[in-house]
């Protein structure tokens, strides 16, 4: 889609103003109903679009992303703009700097139409934890769009933006991509700079593209990757994902994890996965069954390590330097600095945020650190080593994204553990720091609605190209 739009802009079949205006109109039409955007930048978007049109009229060269509307998850800082992380504690926070990925896409001439809704601080799998109300799934408004990048997923699915950026710590790009019927990719940890992404779990977080097509994901990925001196977990690996994109799977070895197929997986999802494997086999790929007994600990590793990192990262929200401060409220009860911390955080954080901070504090506390956090770290290394051994046998792993179809709004909100179990197939890629991509396949009918299904591919470290290529084949085979 991005390339087609780029050609149309170059050939003056449409203007960037017309294109951007069309997407802004869609936002006006659907946003109140679906609650996708927390902020819309109508005026700036149209000004930028006009600037692109002037460039085109002068015959100047356009970057492939130039003049094309996109959306950003609202945990990505944009200088001078409100960045809330969907939390009351940052409801009026204006970012004093931009994330590196934001600088990169603006340099390419992208038009940011606004900031999308998310689970508060990206803690969640449904976008129901937002302090500003849940986002609804464009395929069925009674259902969740997935989370935590649910706003970005819904924006692309409902054509409010051509593409979007999300963040993925335990599946937060791939799950909403799956529930919204679009493509979503989590790169290898270290591929994309996290500078300017409001940190959730610093050894898990990655920013990635959410797009209509696999090719679009490759184009956006090209724009955002690269070493950044402001994030020393990034490295440079020169590559052009778009240029090297193909759908050749002949001779590829695709693994299927035995343990993922044993549990309670919706029958339709299991059938679809098996169909996709069959199609890949018919195209010349070889399917290998993999036994990964330690993978059953991935969820435990995740839910012990991530809250621990969260408890540390969210200590900065203390009502002192920025954000909601109880001390500045009329009728403040704060008598001392400790009161400011405790009361600001009580007022500013939602339940899930409080829950995870307290869980993380517990896992890091004296007497429990060895049994929980340190043990989880060790198991993480074991799981990484297991994947390293597996990837000597296969080129990629095909797996489900979610154990169920998109669930109804409110269905899991009273049971945090049930919500955490939604991540069962996505967290392994984050635990092992591997790249993974969700791609839609077919639609199925459920309760009178047509809902998207999809699969994910997990690749070797730094082999985003490999999984993009296989994902392209799946896309071609299914014509979603």
């Amino acid at each position: 889609m991005i390339k087609e739009l780029h050609e149309k802009l170059k050939n003056k079949e449409i203007t960037s103003s017309e294109l951007t205006g069309k997407y802004l109109d869609r936002i006006k039409k659907d946003n109140e109903r679906l609650n996708v955007f927390l902020d819309v930048y109508e005026e700036e978007a149209m000004q930028k679009a006009q600037a692109v049109d002037e460039k085109i009229s002068k015959g100047e060269k356009l970057d492939v992303l130039e003049g094309i509307p996109c959306a950003l998850k609202d945990n990505l800082c944009v200088m001078g703009k409100r960045t809330t992380a969907a939390s009351k504690i940052l409801e009026n926070y204006i970012a004093p700097y931009s994330a590196t990925v934001v600088d990169k896409i603006l340099e390419k001439g992208s038009i940011i139409v606004g900031k999308t809704n998310l689970d508060e601080f990206a803690f969640g799998a449904s976008t129901e934890n937002s302090a500003f109300g849940p986002t609804k799934n464009p395929h069925d408004e009674k259902r969740v769009p997935g989370g935590s990048s649910g706003g970005s997923g819904a924006a692309v699915a409902d054509e409010m933006a051509v593409w979007a950026l999300g963040s993925d710590t335990g599946g937060s790009i791939r799950l909403p991509a799956n529930f919204c019927g679009i493509v979503g990719m989590k790169p290898t940890y270290g591929r994309v700079s996290r500078y300017g992404l409001m940190a959730m779990a610093s050894s898990y977080d990655q920013i990635g593209p959410m797009t209509q097509t696999v090719e679009d994901a490759a184009i956006v990925l090209d724009a955002i990757v690269g070493q950044d001196k402001k994030d020393n977990t990034t490295i440079d690996r020169e590559h052009s994902f778009q240029t090297e994109l193909n759908s050749q799977v002949q001779g590829k070895k695709i693994g299927i994890i035995k343990q993922f197929m044993d549990g309670s997986l919706d029958k339709r999802i299991k059938n679809d996965l098996e169909d996709q494997l069959e199609k890949l086999k018919n195209s010349g790929a070889e399917v290998v069954e993999l036994d990964l007994p330690n993978i059953k600990h991935s969820l435990a590793v995740y839910y012990l390590m991530v809250p621990s990192e969260i408890s540390s990262n969210l200590a900065r929200f203390d009502g002192i330097k920025y954000g909601l401060s109880e001390a500045s409220l009329p009728n403040s009860k704060s008598k001392n600095i400790l009161d400011v911390y405790n009361l600001s955080r009580e007022l500013g954080f939602g339940s899930e945020v409080k829950r995870r901070i307290i869980l993380g504090t517990y896992a890091l506390s004296a007497g429990y650190f060895d049994a929980y956090y340190k043990k989880a770290q060790k198991v993480r290394e074991v799981i990484k080593k297991d994947f390293s051994n597996i990837f000597k046998e296969v080129d990629a792993i095909l797996a489900p994204v979610s154990p169920s179809l998109p669930f109804k709004i409110g269905e899991k909100t009273d049971d945090p553990l049930a919500m955490y179990l939604v991540d069962i197939f996505t967290v392994s890629a984050n635990v092992a720091m591997l790249p993974a991509i969700a791609v839609p396949t077919i639609k199925v009918e459920d309760d009178g609605q047509h809902l998207p299904l999809g699969v994910q591919l997990i690749g070797k470290w730094w082999d985003e190209q490999g999984i993009l290529n296989i994902a392209k084949k799946i896309e071609e085979e299914n014509n979603f």
Partner: protein, 86 residues
């Protein structure tokens, strides 16, 4: 734990979170019983050089200073105002 986490909780929240967090920890308790011994660190990076930036002083631009000050919950003149620590 809430006190350590610097979050004030209402009594009903304390009870609810204790139950919920207990349930989560119970579900994941097997991991604390795993016998692993010493585990080697697995690094996917293949780093050949340090990637940290140089420790150089840089003056904030006026626009950055203004943006930072804009977010101060309470100010006194040019300064951030906070309750006394001691």
């Amino acid at each position: 734990m809430a006190e350590l986490a610097r979050i004030n909780l209402q009594p009903e929240e304390e009870e609810k979170f204790a139950q919920e967090i207990g349930s989560v920890l119970d579900h994941f308790k097997d991991i604390s019983q795993l016998e692993l011994g010493s585990v080697e660190n697995f690094d996917h990076y293949d780093l050949k050089e340090n990637h940290t930036r140089e420790d150089l002083f840089e003056e904030n631009k006026e626009t950055e200073k203004a943006a930072i000050k804009h977010n101060f919950p309470q100010e006194k003149g040019e300064c951030l105002s906070v309750k006394a620590v001691l």
